[in-house]
Amino acid sequence: MIEKEVLLDVKDLKMHFPIGSKALFGGHQNFIYAVDGVNFQIKKGETLGLVGESGCGKSTTARAVAQLYRPTAGSVVLKGKDLTKLPPRELIAARKNMQMVFQDPYASLNPRMTSGDIIAEPMRIYQKKGLLSMTKKEMDERVEQLMERVGLSRFFRNRYPHEFSGGQRQRIGIARALALRPELVLCDEPVSALDVSIQAQILNLFKDLQEEFGLTYLFIAHDLAVIQYISTRVAVMYLGTVAEISNSAELYKNPLHPYTQALLSAAPIPDPKIEKERKRIILTGDVPSPDKQRPGCPFYDRCWKHMDKCKEHKPRLKEAAPGHEVACFLYHDPD
């Protein structure tokens, strides 16, 4: 098998947000450690699913990758270029290759623009900056072609967002993301606001587009079944770090990290027969607040398998089986 090219390489990404105001003379500044050392790679044509509970840093990771936030530390290498070190103008050029689809199809579309203008906007912006040359006619054709491709009639191009349903709006968002022919699409919970029958349509659309255009996805969702359906590889996040990363099939069959095990067992399966037999691992407590850096494992408080060393040392992601990395001392010793 030919090794596929690594399209995105994220190394030790950190995103800390300052909170509260600093005292006047050298007072202590507090931070929210939203993302605290995340590592992953995505190969061309693959989908990496990012899964975890609210507040674990999934969205912050995606935004830091897109450089919507400038990361506190770490590198984001897209096709050999470290985006964190690029000057603004080069960053804009590099970003053309990386587009986003957002969760809320109501908030992410400008209500005063028609669907056609929304889809054309990325092309217009890059045109203005001299990074794209297209005639007006070519742009119009491209908009119509994109609309048809995502399952919207081109006759809808003069309609405004409020005239569309949630699923159709998400299709507009997808068309806009594809307008510049990017290789990488960052999808931040793109189906969680949709009803199940519509969610299935949109998931299938994502899969078809990937096949057709060879797209690479970073796909965020909190629904484990959705992640399993769409992903080639899956990274499970907890409190700003990656707890486990592996091939999708392997992760669901053989979850190693206690948190992944609990997460999988908590997700309901729509089958009464299976639900009746299932033994659940019910975690106690809530996700702790990310406002301090812990010396030990972030999952320590809620873990039912925790040991003494977990409190003092922070486990690092290490390979436990080929291609299956886990940050847990059950599988390796502290350095």
């Binding site: 199940v196 484990l224 359906y229 908590a266 997700a267 089958d271 299932r278 809530d286």
Partner: protein, 327 residues
């Protein structure tokens, strides 16, 4: 669960009068709830799940809403025709509700104790001290650590899961016969959802409370409910025992819904079978089957008339022309 029916909803119709026309949010919904039973109502947004339950306790805002017909019999008495004074002694007491977002249903300015004691004093006739003791006991049952201390805190001092525990404790504090839970876990993370569902199951079984659980998640329904109503565009299209519906869904919508949910135990590479098209606009819906534009098995008759309900006994019923004798 016994065979004693405590709540009968018969041909309930709730219409909203808006500028564009009449929205038939609930259009002829019928079901029975037995003592200690957990009944699930599933459907997509706008299918009328929440309006059905607000209608049951007669809390539809009027105008624009109006209960246009039907009966809601609680131990034989029609809640829709009852004077408000009598109804108030039932709401929150015999029938209580918990909602999706515990932050908006708790008053942020009042301590938990104030909010819980109020209900208990009003309905149970206890004095304040005894009511507070009862409230602490309920919080403890709901799994809140150090309830004596926590009861004097404000809602914002609780996490989302903890708030929902408070709501459950509140909802069950008057020992209701029916607990209506409207999407109680939709705002919560899966690990917290598992905690809350576990708690609800355990407490309602212990107290013998019947539950109406409204949710859009088939997974939640599968684990929690004895019986099920599937709603589409204001109608119950199929109902029956949960096991039977999942094993052999009859209505094409139910079949489509079950197939369109990605499952953890599904082999990878299987393509999801989605339902084509969009849910209908329920304004001025004609007397047709509202599902026919999306249905693979649609026939001519489906466009012209809404099918009668075919009963199979044991509460199993379906409303679809495929199962109706007289076309």
């Amino acid at each position: 669960m016994t065979d004693e029916v405590i709540l009968q909803v018969k041909d309930l119709k709730t219409y909203f009068h808006v500028d564009e026309g009449i929205v038939k949010a609930v259009d002829g919904v019928s079901f029975n709830l037995r003592k200690g039973e957990t009944l699930g109502i599933v459907g997509e947004s706008g299918s009328g799940k929440s309006v059905t339950n607000l209608s049951i306790i007669n809390m539809i805002p009027n105008p624009p809403g109006r209960i246009a017909g039907g009966e809601v019999l609680f131990h034989g008495a029609d809640l829709l025709k009852m004077p408000v004074k009598d109804l108030r002694s039932i709401r929150g007491n015999k029938i209580s509700m918990i909602f999706q977002d515990p932050m908006t249903s708790l008053n942020p300015f009042l301590r938990i104790s104030t909010q819980m004691v109020e209900t208990i004093v009003l309905h149970q006739g206890l004095d304040k001290k005894a009511a507070k003791a009862k409230a602490i006991e309920m919080l403890k049952l709901a799994g809140i650590p150090a309830p004596e201390k926590r009861i004097d805190q404000y809602p914002h001092q609780f996490s989302g899961g903890m708030r929902q525990r408070v709501m459950i404790a509140m909802g069950l504090s008057c020992n209701p016969e029916i607990l209506i839970a409207d999407e109680p876990t939709s705002a919560l993370d899966v690990t917290i959802q598992a905690q809350i569902l576990d708690l609800m199951k355990d407490l309602t079984a212990r107290l013998g409370t019947a539950v109406i659980l409204i949710t859009h998640s088939l997974g939640v329904v599968a684990g929690m409910c004895d019986t099920l109503c599937v709603m589409y565009a204001g109608r119950v299209v199929e109902r029956g025992a949960t096991g039977e519906i999942f094993a052999e869904p009859k209505h094409p919508y139910t079949q489509g819904l079950i197939k369109s949910v990605p499952r953890l135990d599904q082999a990878q590479g299987d393509r999801l079978r989605s339902i084509r098209g969009q849910p209908p606009n329920v304004i001025d819906l004609p007397d047709c089957c509202p599902f026919y534009p999306r249905c693979d098995k649609a026939m001519d008759i489906c466009k012209r008339k809404y099918p009668a309900t075919t009963e199979y006994g044991n509460g199993r019923a379906v409303s679809c022309w495929l199962y109706t004798e007289a076309k």
